[in-house]
């Protein structure tokens, strides 16, 4: 094992780690942008709930290779192709948790807000969503960590960020880049998750006491 490969490529590793982060961030951001309204729709229109949840988990079963191939004519051999695919995959968690978060709000609380003269939008924004936040944030954490691990599937079209290290190591029968790729991925997930926990604590101060 030629471990000196790692210090020799420190600069490259930083570059692809940043790319990895940027791809993850973009996918999760757009995933949330799509999932929140969808989750809301499913919550408000119970008849649509099983359809929305079913479709979002069905999308998850599309193999990434096939999805990327279909996207290639549209978005080309770029990280965008991978990001679009990953956005689709985040929906399975984000939509479900949005619905469950909203459902976890006791109906009485919303009713109380309505009784105080809040309209539907205001009730949603100032009462229901904040109360649903812990569950939504839990989903966001899972989606983020999952996406960090999934970016590497982009390797099938040469856009796997840290996953490219797996290809390199695989072709040359060289374990060091592979191990480096796995370890950095895990560290990224750890840091991202801790950051989101921090955000959640700040956003839901009422949860901080007790446990």
């Amino acid at each position: 094992m030629k471990w000196s490969w790692i210090p020799d490529h420190a600069g490259d590793l930083v570059t692809i780690t940043l790319l990895h982060l940027r791809m993850t961030g973009t996918a999760v951001f757009f995933g949330l942008l799509v999932a929140l309204p969808l989750g809301l729709l499913a919550y408000r229109v119970p008849r649509l709930k099983s359809v929305v949840l079913g479709v979002s988990s069905l999308l998850f079963t599309i193999p990434s290779v096939a999805l990327f191939t279909l996207l290639l004519p549209l978005t080309g051999l770029t990280p965008t192709t991978v990001v679009v695919g990953l956005t689709v995959y985040t929906l399975v968690v984000l939509v479900r948790n949005t619905v469950e978060g909203l459902e976890s709000v006791p109906p009485k609380v919303a009713e109380a807000a309505r009784a105080m003269g809040y309209d539907r939008v205001r009730t949603l924004v100032t009462v229901e969503l904040p109360l649903a936040l812990p569950v939504i944030m839990a989903g966001l954490r899972i989606a983020t960590v999952m996406t960090i691990s999934l970016v590497s599937v982009g390797l099938v079209i040469g856009q796997g960020a840290l996953g490219q290290l797996f290809v390199d190591g695989f072709q040359r029968d060289f374990g060091v880049p592979i191990i480096a790729g796995i370890v950095i991925t895990l560290l990224l997930a750890l840091v991202a998750d801790a950051l989101l926990v921090g955000v959640q604590r700040v956003l839901t101060p009422w949860h901080r006491t007790g446990r």
Partner: protein, 302 residues
């Protein structure tokens, strides 16, 4: 409390904003792609990556701005990307490319293969003159298998083939240089075929592990020599010439680019290419550095 909430919202916002990088997804180098810049793409194996860096080196020496996108995947992903303009040049191998475009092609000599490529190339693509270096499809057995069945040429396989399993890329199943040609030309019919990879770690691993007895590998593969494997001679010329040649998007194939790439053709021989492969695959050196050093040594760059 209010301040804290505001801070949190701000933090969350800036988090998504910076991690989003929403407007530009491409890494900086390809984002700033100007009209004259050339993007060299490569398939996902070491030799192709080295070749990509060799191409980039000679083009850079002529003052062009070049980026290399290594390890993009296999031909079926890269060739469409070349048509679309995501990449501009790709180091190719004549015969494999021809078989990919026309499964039933039977040309074998370098000139014939080169000539046969032009009519079947996808629109907008062009293949440039080929180099001396060649990396052929070969059918390989271990020393033990060769001794056991007395194998030297593909002809010898016929008698033993019913007991043997062939391993290679999935396309071996459907293209002429694969199961079909082996049967037609040599009368070989294997017990089974296992889809693995294009002369990569899986096929090598399977041959070594005994999961397959015959492997479709490539002639410059350093492992063949390292392990003392036996290359079965293609006495009836089934396998076409496989010289290295640039596949390029027509819009980028200017006289200048063509001339620069042609500089490689005489100096890049099969021997030289094998040496470069060994540095990357055996010694784990970086393909870009190996390419750079070689170009300098050959006087192609200063």
């Amino acid at each position: 409390m209010k301040v804290r909430l505001a801070a949190a919202v701000l933090a969350a916002f800036s988090l998504t904003a910076c991690s989003g990088g929403v407007t530009s997804l491409d890494p900086a180098d390809s984002g700033s792609k100007d009209a004259g810049a050339i993007v060299v793409g490569t398939a996902n194996f070491s030799e192709n990556v080295i070749l990509g860096h060799l191409y980039a080196g000679v083009l850079k020496a002529k003052g062009m701005s070049v980026t290399v996108k290594p390890n993009l995947g296999s031909r079926e992903i890269i060739v469409p990307a070349l048509q679309q303009g995501d990449i501009d040049v790709l180091p190719e191998y004549q015969g494999s490319l021809l078989q990919y475009l026309d499964k039933n092609a039977k040309q074998t000599s370098a000139e014939d293969v080169q000539a046969a490529l032009t009519p079947v190339l996808p629109k907008g693509l062009k293949v440039l003159p080929y180099a001396g270096a060649e990396n052929k499809d070969v059918f390989v057995v271990t020393k033990e298998t060769a001794d056991k069945y007395k194998l030297k040429t593909l002809d010898d396989l016929k008698a033993a083939s019913a007991e043997l399993v062939l391993g290679g890329p999935a396309e071996d199943k459907t293209r002429y240089v694969g199961l079909i040609g082996l049967k037609e030309v040599y009368g070989v019919e294997f017990k089974d075929f296992k889809s693995l990879d294009a002369g990569g770690p899986l096929t090598r691993g399977a041959l070594e592990g005994g999961d397959i007895q015959v492997a479709n590998l490539f002639s410059t593969d350093v492992t063949i020599k390292n392990k003392g494997w036996v290359v079965l001679e293609d006495s009836k010329d089934l396998v076409p010439a496989q010289h290295v040649a640039p596949l390029i998007n027509e819009t980028k194939a200017t006289a200048e680019v063509t001339a620069a790439l042609a500089l490689l053709n005489d100096k890049l021989t099969t021997d030289e290419l094998s040496k470069l492969d060994a540095k990357v695959d055996n010694d784990k050196e970086d393909p870009d550095k190996v390419a750079e050093a070689w170009l300098k040594q050959q006087g192609l760059t200063s």
